[in-house]
Symmetry: C2
Subunit: 446 residues, 2 copies
């Protein structure tokens, strides 16, 4: 292998997800290749033992990104050289990695679907070797994106029909922020401030202006004038740099009553929204909208429900999952073939030692049972045959078959699925107060 990386190598490294992997995946692989057990057909299941405290439902997000990551899970020459130099795995393992491409099956919940404790949100099936090494990157994506989507879903429910703009990039890792925009869009946000999220995923982008822009100019009037001249009267002026009442007067003097919107970014938003609305109306700017930002979370959004507010910008609490910045999804071996012959029958396996970390063996199906009114009443998770009455309520869909991606879909479909899924839950699902999962998970026996 060539030790000097070429531009093509650099591009390949950037595109490869293969090292977004814990070291032990590769050393387990090496040991299993040597013992022969690497050939055993294996079923790994992604699930969570519990929802974050007080949350009533979870939201699967990141599925589409998992499909990209699995396709890009190829080891480049510089990566293999590095693994060799570091003596992380031996030569025969390196040779195996050099040819790696996932050839198994992945099924899972459609992106945007709600989930509950025990829901088998993704199932990866293949040889132990090909499936075990995907653990870290799959969990990274699902745990982060689903945490953001869960928070976004609560916020979008709290906002009623008012639009939410995701603007948290500055409070999250720069790449995580892009994925956060995507997850928020799946869970009901209307737009993002993050240009990369617009560029990469086609999410609508939006923005206003910052205090720096006002401070840059000799007066607020100069700043507003500059913005209107450049962006037109439909723009959003930021009105809380100096005095709010004066800013509103200046804004309408400069822009006229056709001004698109004003943004309030500090202070008692509930009171200020009322005051600014009244002032705008008195000035004849009845159609000028009010956008509020400033440390909003789902509770603050709900509290502003009766305020004359037309849209919300949400930053920190969105990109940090509103107190729950990750999910507790795990990737567990639940079944494997009985011998190194991959055609031998599958048997369920499970960890037995510690109660809280035990798992249920066996490859699972799941379905959401509805009551007579079409409202969800249970998450049913089982092994074996699906009862006929649940056959058309199954939640897993094919994502990858024999290594071929079959589950790719437009982001709009995930967004629509989330809304459908949430609307089918009991209404208390979107209560913001702490509670138990809004439907129980049932494990039918026999």
């Amino acid at each position: 292998m060539d030790a000097v990386p070429t531009p093509a190598d650099a591009a390949a490294d950037a595109a490869s997800t293969a090292l977004l992997t814990d070291r032990y995946e590769l050393t387990m692989l090496q040991a299993a290749l040597r013992s022969g057990a690497a050939r055993r057909r294996s079923v790994f299941e992604v699930f969570t033992r519990r929802l974050p405290e007080g949350r009533r439902y979870g939201v699967v997000a990141g599925t589409g990104r998992v499909l990209d990551a699995v396709e890009a899970f190829r080891f480049t020459a510089p990566q293999l050289d590095w693994l060799s130099d570091q003596q992380i795995v031996d030569d025969s393992t390196l040779a195996w990695l050099a040819d790696y491409r996932f050839g198994g099956d992945i099924r899972g919940y459609g992106e945007g679907e709600c989930y509950f404790p025990g829901s088998p949100v993704m199932v990866v099936e293949g040889s132990f070797a090909e499936a075990v090494i995907l653990e870290t990157v799959i969990l990274s994506i699902l745990n982060y994106d689903s945490a953001i989507a869960a928070a976004a879903s609560r916020m979008s429910a709290a906002a009623g029909g008012r639009p939410l703009i995701e603007m948290g990039a500055r409070r999250a890792h720069e790449q995580a922020a892009v994925s956060a925009s995507r997850a928020a869009y799946v869970a009901g946000f209307a737009a993002t401030s993050d240009l990369q999220a617009g560029f990469r995923y086609g999410i609508p982008t939006a923005g206003t202006s910052a205090h720096a822009f006002t401070l840059l100019h000799d007066s607020e009037r100069d700043a507003f004038t500059a913005q209107i001249e450049s962006m037109g009267r439909g723009t959003t002026l930021l009105i809380d740099t100096y005095d709010l009442g004066e800013a509103v007067r200046t804004a309408i003097e400069v822009a006229g009553t056709e001004l698109g919107a004003v943004r309030i970014d500090s202070g008692d938003l509930l009171m200020l929204a009322h005051r600014v609305r009244r002032q705008l109306d008195e000035l004849g700017a009845e159609k000028t909208r009010i956008t509020v930002t400033s440390d909003l979370d789902e509770y603050a959004i709900a509290a502003l429900g009766t305020a004359p507010v037309d849209g919300y910008g949400v930053g920190t609490s969105l990109v940090t999952g509103s107190g729950q910045p990750t999910c507790a999804m795990v990737y567990k071996l639940v079944a494997r073939s009985t011998s190194d012959d991959p055609d031998s029958p599958l048997i369920p396996v499970e960890k037995r030692s510690a109660g809280a970390k035990s798992s249920r063996g066996g490859r699972k199906w799941s379905a959401r049972r509805l009551d007579a009114d079409g409202v969800a009443e249970a998450e049913v998770v089982g092994t074996g045959t699906v009862p006929p009455e649940l056959a058309d309520r199954q939640l897993q869909i094919p994502l990858v078959l024999a290594g071929r991606t079959v589950g790719r879909e437009p982001l709009a479909d995930a967004r629509a699925r989330h809304l459908r899924s949430r609307e089918q839950l009991p209404m208390s699902a979107t209560q913001l107060s702490k509670g138990d999962p809004v439907i129980p998970t049932e494990y039918p026996t026999g």
Copy 2:
């Protein structure tokens, strides 16, 4: 809409940081280019108004990544085409962006340095145009990396001299995880499980094995044998899949008393560590080390201080900042030239409307004042001339001069700086209980 990224897109994304930017940066730029104010010399300061609740110090991390990001802040043709198609900015702004490369100065706290409320941890100076558009990516990096480093520093202090392994990749965005490993290493962690962090930054990597590996085999003995045959006796065996006592016996039978280590990943770690230590000693494996993992945070690590534990693996709580997944760093215009002539004098500017969000105008220096014993007693932040007695205690170092990066350093230097900086704080800095910042921030007048 819904475009699927290709490997080439991913490579282009990785090469450019220019769209890791909020839309409003570019629209403010357009308006300022049009009004002429874009030429005004501007000083932007990164600081935080407060530490996360109860924290006694912060840790600057990500500085080196900021330098990379600023160098990579170039707009590619596909990005410019997209900005044009989306009508985000006009043609003259696009032309300006096409030629963009930062030509100003950046000073800041050395990576690893501790910081306090008001510390000017980074100062970006240039034309308004060239400096304003770096806001989002600089804050993303510093806010995330510093949050992780702050948590990691508390954990490394709590661990005393025992080594900490970062193993949280699966609980964080896959790229954030790599940066988290880096930040943890700066703040005292010994190694990471994340191969990409090893590959990209040269951080030592480490790993053990997972329950899946044991469950894959027909017996725990088979699994241990396979691991020992592949990895040698120095490896770490995971002993809590079935029965701990049996597993320890089997481990020593298979590996002999030269077994490197065992890992306990569930249960009452304090009790189990004592029990396993005793059993290992009775079996003659007195040098076999014990590593514990399982939802550890700084409190759990401190509680295990008297346990016979040789190392800690930390996951979720590290990558989520142990309850504080972001910092509240902001990027504020604090001074600008008085007119569109960039050579006109700088004047301080500050937002005035809302108390909690107000800022102090003026370009600032800062220094850490020590007492007679060499212990830090205040963070001194001022404008104007640095008092001579503080001249050699200044905290900002040059990072970029006239667009040229001058502040790059090996990661080991940041790691050493953090240790030095933390050791200079009053000892109560590393108390884990909630408290005020361990030293006050002083703003001398006149």
